[in-house]
């Protein structure tokens, strides 16, 4: 699915972090399309607090790589104006936790521009933002808020679980004529100052390619149980599946990739096969991703061999102290325990 007018490059695949994959995708697209520009706090001189724009200022200069004031409402609003004018802005909201100061520009303006205008005015912009905790940054810097964004119409919302997908999703996101919220998980980002799940660092082709914005992926096949995750929880699910395999439980693992649109068909087909569903994410539990996954499966009338379950962050603010935070965060062991419980004969109806 690589774009026809992509520069032909023979750059080989290298192992990259998600951060590098993102900045490479943006850089390549900026070369290809003069309408692409990047704006945000600390994205120029600093290269992005999470490395999403490293090297871009040097390459493309301050007109196209713009540090902004701490004025999220203004610069995200400006992005919609740029997009309406045919530019392709990429804006960074440094932490998703900050959405509360600028959500109007995102959900009421960018997300509805196309609809309100009856399709006259599109809004080709990417809002990239970091999500997730686990490193002691407390309750205003550790949220994921997937469902908050998934719930509001007019936005596409993607979450890469690895560098390969990150690059392909970013290229797809920039080229998409709609606002795309691109959420990258700090525990997968590959920053020098934050631990990173090694599996997220993958071979990344130097070439131009896109990963579809609307397709979930089966990242491990299995027959007894379907584990559904996104971002970090995909890796936890994979670790859990590995452990479960030792107990002769064959878990299928789905990486949602996108929560809007949600690829319900892939999830349903898997659960039809396995008969068991365990959804895992690190957003708040109530009205969260897991609820939507479970509802999507159950409303389809799929016969289940045990009650569907979910693991998520509980309905509490994210506590600072690691003894509390790690106690409440989802992890592979919790997935294994829940899965094993679901496999017990008593759990089956």
């Amino acid at each position: 699915m690589s774009s026809p007018d992509a520069p032909t490059t023979t750059a080989p695949a290298r192992r990259l972090t998600i951060a590098r994959a993102i900045s490479e995708a943006i850089g390549q697209e900026m070369e290809r399309d003069a309408n692409v520009l990047v704006m945000g706090e600390d994205i120029a001189k600093l290269g992005g607090v999470f490395g999403t724009t490293t090297g871009l200022l040097d390459k493309f200069g301050p007109e196209r790589v713009r540090d902004t004031p701490i004025s999220e409402t203004a610069f995200i609003g400006a992005a919609t104006g740029l997009a309406a004018a045919g530019m392709r802005p990429i804006v960074e909201l440094m932490f998703v936790d900050f959405f509360g100061v600028c959500m109007d520009a995102i959900y009421n303006l960018a997300a509805k521009q196309c609809y309100f205008s009856g399709g006259q005015v599109t809004c080709p912009m990417v809002l990239m933002t970091s999500v997730g905790g686990g490193y002691g940054d407390a309750g205003q810097h550790s949220q994921t808020l997937y469902a908050t964004f998934g719930h509001l119409p007019g936005l596409r919302v993607v979450i890469p679980s690895n560098a390969h997908d990150a690059k392909g999703l970013m290229l797809a996101a920039i080229r998409d004529p709609n606002p795309v919220v691109f959420m990258y998980h700090k525990a997968l980002q590959g920053m020098g100052w934050l631990g990173t799940v090694q599996r997220s660092i993958t071979e990344v082709p130097g070439t131009d390619y896109v990963v579809p914005l609307d397709k979930a992926k089966i990242v491990r096949e299995g027959s007894d149980l379907t584990l559904v995750g996104l971002g970090l929880s995909v890796h936890q699910a994979l670790d859990a599946a590995e452990k479960l395999a030792g107990d002769d439980v064959s878990a299928e693992v789905i990486d949602l990739v996108s929560i809007a649109p949600l690829d319900r068909e892939t999830v349903r087909a898997s659960v039809c096969k396995t008969g068991r569903l365990l959804a895992v994410d690190d957003d708040y539990l109530s009205y969260g991703v897991g609820a939507e996954i479970i509802a999507s499966v159950c409303e389809a009338g799929i016969t289940l061999r045990s009650a569907p379950q979910r693991i998520a962050f509980p309905d509490i603010p994210v506590p600072f102290t690691p003894v509390m935070e790690h106690f409440v965060l989802p992890n592979a062991d919790k997935i294994v325990a829940a899965a094993q419980h679901m496999m017990e004969p008593s759990a089956n109806d």
């Binding site: 520009l37 007109e63 196209r64 713009r66 902004t68 004031p69 004025s71 999220e72 409402t73 203004a74 610069f75 995200i76 609003g77 400006a78 992005a79 919609t80 104006g81 740029l82 997009a83 309406a84 004018a85 045919g86 530019m87 802005p89 109007d104 520009a105 009421n108 303006l109 521009q113 196309c114 609809y115 309100f116 205008s117 009856g118 399709g119 006259q120 005015v121 599109t122 809004c123 080709p124 119409p153 007019g154 596409r156 004529p177 709609n178």
Partner: protein
């Protein structure tokens, strides 16, 4: 609406356009109450939902838009008709949109608070101060492309207390983009008087907080607006950056249709109506050498265009209900 118009033609255009806007709303008024009898219910009739009229504020729209071209961007507010008409939004499609018809600007999806006409780069919205960021973006696009298009964001004086105002003006100044922020000071945000919610008397003084020129235009006077806006827009086109303009105007109607206006001091509306800017402008034009006949002709054409737009809008078909699902995404 040309770039460097002779003042005479601009004045004629401003007069006719004010009349057009006023007549547009004159036709809205009875239509809005149709079907809402015997018990008023906003949901009913051919024009459901809130309806914010701009009667009295026409000088702001025409004085600014006289300097604008289709390539210039305007973002307006929940009270958009006068600005939309002055910016050259397709009158037929605009009327049809307000009636929720398939031939409307947005096929009926947006309605009166969400008028978009991409042809002339006009948009408006229902969230206070929401259009300011987009105007900065449109202005930046113009600058990056080396064009001389400007972007004008209209807002009410109440909106000048919203955080987005501060952020957008600062950003426009830091980036030195060709944006003009036009505050229509009609003294009220719904029921709240400006003096009860705004720390300064004139929002134009706030321009200093953004190192940009601030202009106050008294008197609800189209010519005065035209002069000041002309300077600010020309400055922006020359690449010298943004400006802030506050225009003293008045709202002759309620905040929205159905507003009981109990918050107004007694006699206020009568006083304001006595100073209605449109007849006053006609009188001035006559006194300054315009012919009654030419004004009548312009006025007549303006009304006729509006009448035709309304007739067509009423006659037009509603969209298919399933069309609700179209255009969520491009």
């Amino acid at each position: 609406m040309s770039g460097t118009p002779s003042n005479r033609s601009d004045r004629l255009w401003m007069y006719a356009t004010m009349v057009k806007s006023r007549h547009f709303e004159a036709l809205i008024k009875p239509a809005y109450f149709e079907g809402k009898t015997p018990v008023f219910n906003m949901a009913k009739g051919p024009l459901p939902g809130e309806m914010h009229l701009s009667d009295g504020q026409e000088p702001c729209a025409v004085g600014v838009c006289a300097h604008l071209r289709p390539g210039d961007t305007v973002t307006a507010t929940h009270r958009p008709h006068h600005v939309a008409i002055a910016k050259g939004v397709d009158l037929d499609a605009m009327a049809a949109e307000i009636f929720g018809k398939a031939s409307g600007l947005s096929g009926g999806r947006g309605g009166h608070m969400h008028l978009f006409d991409a042809r002339v780069n006009f948009a408006c919205s229902g969230i206070i101060a929401q259009g300011l960021g987009p105007a900065v973006g449109a202005a930046l696009a113009s600058k990056l492309r080396g064009e001389d298009h400007v972007a004008v964001a209209f807002l009410g004086e109440g909106a000048a207390n919203q955080g987005a105002f501060h952020e957008a003006l600062n950003l426009a100044s830091v980036w030195k983009v060709p944006a003009i922020f036009v505050i229509e000071d009609n003294s009220y945000g719904i029921s709240v008087a400006k003096r009860d919610c705004t720390a300064v008397e004139r929002n134009s003084d706030r321009a200093a907080a953004y190192a940009m020129p601030g202009h106050f235009v008294p008197g609800n006077d189209a010519d005065a607006v035209h002069r000041v806006a002309g300077e600010a827009i020309a400055r922006a086109r020359r690449g010298e950056g943004p400006s802030l303009i506050e225009i003293e105007t008045c709202r002759l109607e309620g905040h929205f249709m159905g507003d009981a206006e109990g918050y107004r001091p007694e006699g206020e509306v009568d006083r304001l109506k006595a100073e209605d800017p449109i007849p006053a402008y006609r009188a001035r034009l006559l006194s300054e050498g315009f012919e009654g006949a030419e004004l009548d002709k312009a006025e007549c054409e303006a009304r006729a265009a509006v009448d035709a737009a309304f007739a067509a809008a009423r006659a037009a078909a509603y969209p298919q209900p399933e069309e609700a699902f179209a255009h969520v995404f491009a």
